[in-house]
């Protein structure tokens, strides 16, 4: 039997928080931007199949930075939570607020009770009919939850990227402008030059997905009259969008 050293709770929490912060700071950044057409989610991610951005429900998307295995299990738990809720009540009764609070509780419980905290930071975004009613929640490793306005930046260089986005963000941005802004902001993160379409993962929550037109013709081809607002954009879509004027 070895004697346990006494560690004060303050020190214990601080050590855990530092550990989690270090893990998150190693990762690349993710930007979530609310704009006139909906919500754009942009992540620096060279892999076309290991996603950092995912669909949770009709109007709700998920973005994460940190350890893949940890946020992937949280994403799957979120999809299960939303689908069970929508199936047992109604599709309308699934809200980002409910999901974010479940995430906050799980992250908080893991932070205090488990061997090591989750090294992740999450964003839960919900698109609404009007921009004022959009919800952006940021969740950190210790279970803190913040209701953000306009945009969220997470990951390694969050402060630098955040100031770049804050300079360019306007409520009247369309999708091309918002994605260009996000990609421009992420560049300060990388060493040099503009990011190519293959280096980023982009998805949108389309505000007008349910109208037969959709907000943009090229997006609406596949999403005609769909209640599911989430669309993942492939490299060609991104290149085409970026070539457009605002």
């Amino acid at each position: 039997m070895t004697q346990q050293f006494y560690v004060s709770p303050e020190q214990l929490m601080k050590d855990r928080a530092d550990f989690a912060r270090k893990g998150i700071a190693r990762g690349r950044s993710v930007v979530v931007v609310s704009c006139q057409d909906g919500i754009a989610l942009v992540a620096e991610n060279p892999s076309p199949s290991l996603h950092k951005i995912g669909e949770i429900y009709d109007k709700i998307a998920f973005a994460a930075v940190g350890k893949y295995n940890e946020f992937e299990s949280l994403r799957q738990a979120g999809v299960r939570y939303a689908d069970v809720r929508g199936y047992s009540y109604d599709r309308e009764d699934v809200t980002a607020r409910g999901l974010a609070s479940v995430y906050a509780q799980s992250l908080g419980a893991v932070f205090t009770a488990e061997q090591k905290p989750f090294e992740v930071e999450l964003a839960v975004a919900e698109v609404a009919q009007t921009q004022d009613e959009d919800h952006l929640y940021r969740l950190t490793f210790d279970g803190s939850i913040a209701d953000e306005q306009g945009f969220i930046v997470m990951g390694g260089q969050a402060d630098r990227v955040s100031s770049a986005i804050a300079d360019g963000w306007r409520a009247s941005l369309r999708f091309p402008g918002a994605i260009r802004l996000a990609m421009g902001g992420l560049v300060t993160d990388a060493e040099a030059g503009a990011l190519p379409a293959t280096a980023v993962e982009v998805a949108v929550l389309d505000r007008l997905s349910e109208s037969s037109r959709g907000s943009r013709r090229e997006l609406s081809e596949s999403s005609r009259g769909s209640r599911r607002a989430f669309r993942r954009l492939n490299d060609a879509d991104i290149t085409a969008l970026l070539a457009e004027e605002d």
């Binding site: 199949s49 995912g54 689908d83 069970v84 199936y87 047992s88």
Partner: protein, 272 residues
């Protein structure tokens, strides 16, 4: 300690919504319920959904259902819809006990969407057809008590580039149909009509007319099947599935098709 943890993680990693419910919330499944003993002695008076027809045409498959639900000799509903989109590339129609069938449809829709969200890719058409078969088999104890559900499933196989059609029995047996198929109380009459009306390589518009006419014939001879109702402006529910996905045929189009069938039959003045 490592191995049991890894085993547990692998065991919990399911992409199936039904499996998840079975494990965590079994009370939410539409089947999986013990009925009181002796319930089979007196068949329950519950709404039953009736005739569904499905047929292939050039470039896709089509499914249509009438709008009637019956409860014994009573018409339980004139508006019920029995054909639903399952996902972007498939549709299903249901006949049998309406209450269970509609929940089963909802479960199947969530099942497909859940898989798509967890895995990031669509389930193959065969995979969808097998999942539906497993759900019908899950309902077998209820079917033995008289609460059977019999679906019909149609979808576009994006890998093979063809529309395909699957029928089921109450035990969950899955059979691929090549040309057309019908289920429900009026299925015998609809099938007879389809045998004469269907031919290979129908266009989409011709296929809609054939489906509506076969339902008209079913309604003619089966009291549980509703025909087109010009008084209430009720037409069958018709979905087509092709390379571009599932599409609900608009009411206006169906009104015109049903109108011309009624007109032709009026002119012919035939007794049967």
């Amino acid at each position: 300690m490592q191995e049991p943890t890894a085993h547990q993680v692998a065991a919990n990693a399911t992409s199936s919504f039904t499996e998840h419910l079975q494990r965590d919330r079994p009370e939410l499944l539409p089947y999986n319920r013990d009925l009181p003993a002796g319930a089979a002695a007196a068949p329950l008076q519950v709404p039953h959904a009736t005739t569904i027809v499905a047929l292939s045409y050039e470039g896709g498959v089509l499914m249509a259902g009438d709008r009637r639900a019956t409860m014994g000799n009573v018409i339980a509903s004139r508006h019920i819809e029995k054909v639903f989109p399952a996902d972007h590339y498939s549709v299903l129609g249901i006949a049998g006990t309406a209450g269970i069938a509609i929940d089963l449809t909802r479960l199947f829709q969530v099942e497909l969407e859940h898989y798509e969200k967890i895995e990031g890719t669509l389930l193959s058409l065969e995979g969808k057809a097998n999942r539906l078969g497993a759900m019908i088999r899950g309902n077998l104890p209820m079917a033995l008590q008289g609460l059977a559900v019999v679906p019909l499933f149609a979808g576009f196989d994006t890998a093979a580039g063809v529309g395909r059609l699957f029928s089921y029995d109450v035990t969950g047996g899955r059979y691929e149909e090549r040309e057309h198929h019908t289920v429900g109380s009026g299925s015998v009459f609809a099938r007879g009509a389809l045998k004469k009306l269907w031919r290979p390589n129908l266009t989409e518009a011709e296929a809609v007319a054939v489906a509506v006419e076969s339902l008209y014939d079913a309604a003619d001879d089966d009291s549980a099947t509703g025909g087109p109702d010009p008084v209430r402006q009720l037409w069958p529910v018709v979905y087509t599935v092709s390379r571009s996905g599932a599409r609900r045929v608009p009411e206006s189009e169906l009104a015109a098709v049903a109108g011309s069938i009624i007109e032709a039959r009026t002119i012919a003045r035939r007794e049967a």
